[in-house]
């Protein structure tokens, strides 16, 4: 929508030049596609297997994409060339008309409107009695000029709008290829699985999640919070070990996890009586993270005044503010919940026999560290987690601090909500309590078995 003065100053030949360059770009891209095809042919000549077939499938996608783009570029260039050429002639005509009237002494207002110039008024004045007649003649010419310029500008504007709209539409049709890379595709599925609530997978993949969770920290579930903390700690320790563990775990997880597939964490806990309790024991995991984070947290916090929010208040807050300790509880609270589950289990397991012992000794370090899966203790993850836990347990205060620092406001709020809605948390824990009854039955089982043997004996007798 150029104004009249803009139209006069315009250089639509630039559109034509641009169109020519676009057309050349289309040719370049076409040549690129041809060269691409040559390279691909050279590769295919020396390669034949499934990977080559997959490669050629992808090549066909690129070929089709490039052909489509070349076609669209050609179409856009054609549109711009046609519109640009029309605008060139229209602007030229507008300029010629404008120049003609100005040359005749008329004044051209930017409306556009042609008015009588000083020359005409002088002539009118000089005409004496014929002045009005002469003025009418001049005014008629001026009005005609106004019409010409207005019409010319309208046509130019219409052409501009049509061309611009077509070009915008053509731009919208250009859709870049989706990138194929190792990163995105791998990460996304993991998130989905986690969201599904498969605790086992989630816990095991906690390391993988660490990076992601750091961003997410919204703390959907208490357990998630726990995971975040643990993950962060683990990240500090070493991602390499975690990754290795992941790979092994993932594979094993799939085998193990598929059959069970517990929907709710609460449900999961009770089901896996033998193996599950160990990994799930939140107590160990909760304790673990604090120990490791302690060093980084203290060092970072004092050094980096950068945490202005926590800065001045953070020391007093930790000591005095109820919220802070609560936050510690909350992050731990995630652990607390898990712990709640674990704790009941542990005592039960003690009496039960093997389960408790397993947890305390082998699993205690490894399983708890992962917080997740009992599988870890077996794998290598246990090694990492175990050492950290020992020192961690005594330092609960540090845990709280570390959580606060690591999980800035988000975790705190999440914790706050948990605490604020203690009833909710308790309710969640309560469903877990049913686990207790489940465990005791285990104790009962052995006695039952003995009588069972006795019974058959009399029957046999």
């Amino acid at each position: 929508m150029p104004a009249y003065e803009e139209a006069l100053a315009a250089d639509p030949t630039a559109f034509v030049d641009c169109a020519a360059e676009m057309s050349a770009a289309g040719t370049d891209l076409s040549d690129h596609g041809t060269e691409y095809g040559t390279k691909v042919t050279a590769i295919n000549d020396g390669w034949q297997d499934q990977a080559n077939a997959a490669f050629n499938d992808d090549v066909s996608i690129v070929d089709a994409h490039v052909d489509e783009v070349v076609s669209k570029v050609g179409g856009a260039a054609e549109v711009l060339h046609t519109g640009g050429s029309a605008m060139v002639s229209q602007v030229d005509q507008l300029k010629a008309t404008d120049a003609a009237y100005k040359g005749a002494g008329f004044v051209v207002q930017p409306a556009p409107k042609v008015e009588l110039g000083p020359v005409h008024w002088a002539a009118i004045a000089a005409a004496g009695p014929f002045g009005p007649v002469l003025q009418a003649v001049f005014q008629a010419r001026a009005d005609e000029g106004t019409m010409q310029l207005t019409t010319g500008l309208a046509v130019l504007t219409a052409t501009d709008v049509a061309t611009g709209t077509a070009l915008t539409s053509a731009a919208g049709e250009l859709q870049p290829l989706e990138d194929k890379g190792p990163g995105a595709t791998d990460c996304l599925p993991v998130d989905d699985e986690d969201r599904e609530g498969n605790l086992e997978k989630v816990d095991q993949r906690a390391d993988a999640e660490a990076d992601k969770d750091a961003d997410k920290k919204t703390g959907q579930d208490e357990k998630d919070q726990e995971k975040d903390v643990e993950e962060k700690d683990k990240d500090d320790q070493g991602k390499d070990e975690a990754e290795k563990d992941k790979e092994d775990e993932d594979k094993q997880e799939q085998d193990q996890a598929q059959p069970q597939q517990p929907e709710d964490p609460s449900n999961e806990v009770p089901q896996p009586e033998g193996e599950r309790p160990q990994p799930e024991q939140p107590e160990v995991p909760g304790f673990e993270p604090p120990g490791q984070p302690e060093v980084p947290d203290f060092s970072t916090d004092p050094i980096t005044p950068g945490t202005p929010d926590l800065g001045s208040p953070w020391k007093p807050s930790e000591l005095e503010d109820p919220e802070v300790p609560s936050g510690g509880l909350a992050s731990g609270g995630g652990g607390g919940l898990g712990g709640g589950l674990g704790s009941p289990e542990v005592p039960t397991g003690g009496p039960g026999g093997g389960s408790a012992g397993l947890v305390a000794t082998p699993g205690g370090g490894s399983a708890a560290g992962t917080a997740a899966p009992g599988s870890r203790p077996g794998f290598g993850g246990g090694l990492v987690g175990a050492p950290a836990r020992g020192p961690v347990n005594p330092d609960e205060e540090y845990e709280r601090e570390s959580f606060l620092t690591e999980d800035p406001e988000d975790d705190v709020w999440g914790i706050g909500t948990d605490e604020g809605n203690p009833y909710v948390d308790y309710q969640e824990e309560q469903p877990k309590e049913p686990e207790l009854p489940l465990l005791p039955p285990v104790d009962e089982l052995p006695p039952i078995t003995f009588p069972g043997f006795d019974l058959p004996e009399p029957g046999k007798s």
Binding site: A14, D17, C18, Y36, N52, P176
Partner: protein, 108 residues
């Protein structure tokens, strides 16, 4: 696939060629950038001028996408060549190991 076959050096070189070719896709859009900017700046108030710049932006994204894709393909091809070569060496080593055992038994 009925047949598994690879000229490792040829394929690896082809992957490198693809990666070398990939950036050239961008040249197609690069040559449009200046004319599009000029057309927009020298035709103030024209819808077409801004549309041309916008179009170039999209076109640039498309060529960049082609560049990344072709580069990725080249990397995959080179990787496939490396993997197959490594596999080939491993198999060769195993055959040689077997070969050593066989004559030993015969001698005995």
């Amino acid at each position: 696939m009925d047949e598994v076959y690879m000229e490792v050096e040829q394929v690896r070189g082809g992957g490198g060629d693809l990666q070398a070719l990939a950036p050239k896709a961008k040249l197609a859009s690069d040559r449009v950038q200046a004319p599009a900017q000029t057309a927009a700046s020298s035709n103030g108030g024209f819808v077409t001028g801004e549309a041309g710049v916008q179009w170039h932006g999209r076109f640039d994204a498309v060529t960049a996408g082609v560049e990344r894709r072709v580069d990725w393909q080249g990397a995959q091809v080179a990787t496939s060549a490396d993997e197959l070569e490594a596999c080939d060496k491993e198999v060769r080593g195993r055959f040689r190991a077997l070969e050593r055992r066989i004559p030993a038994r015969r001698e005995s």
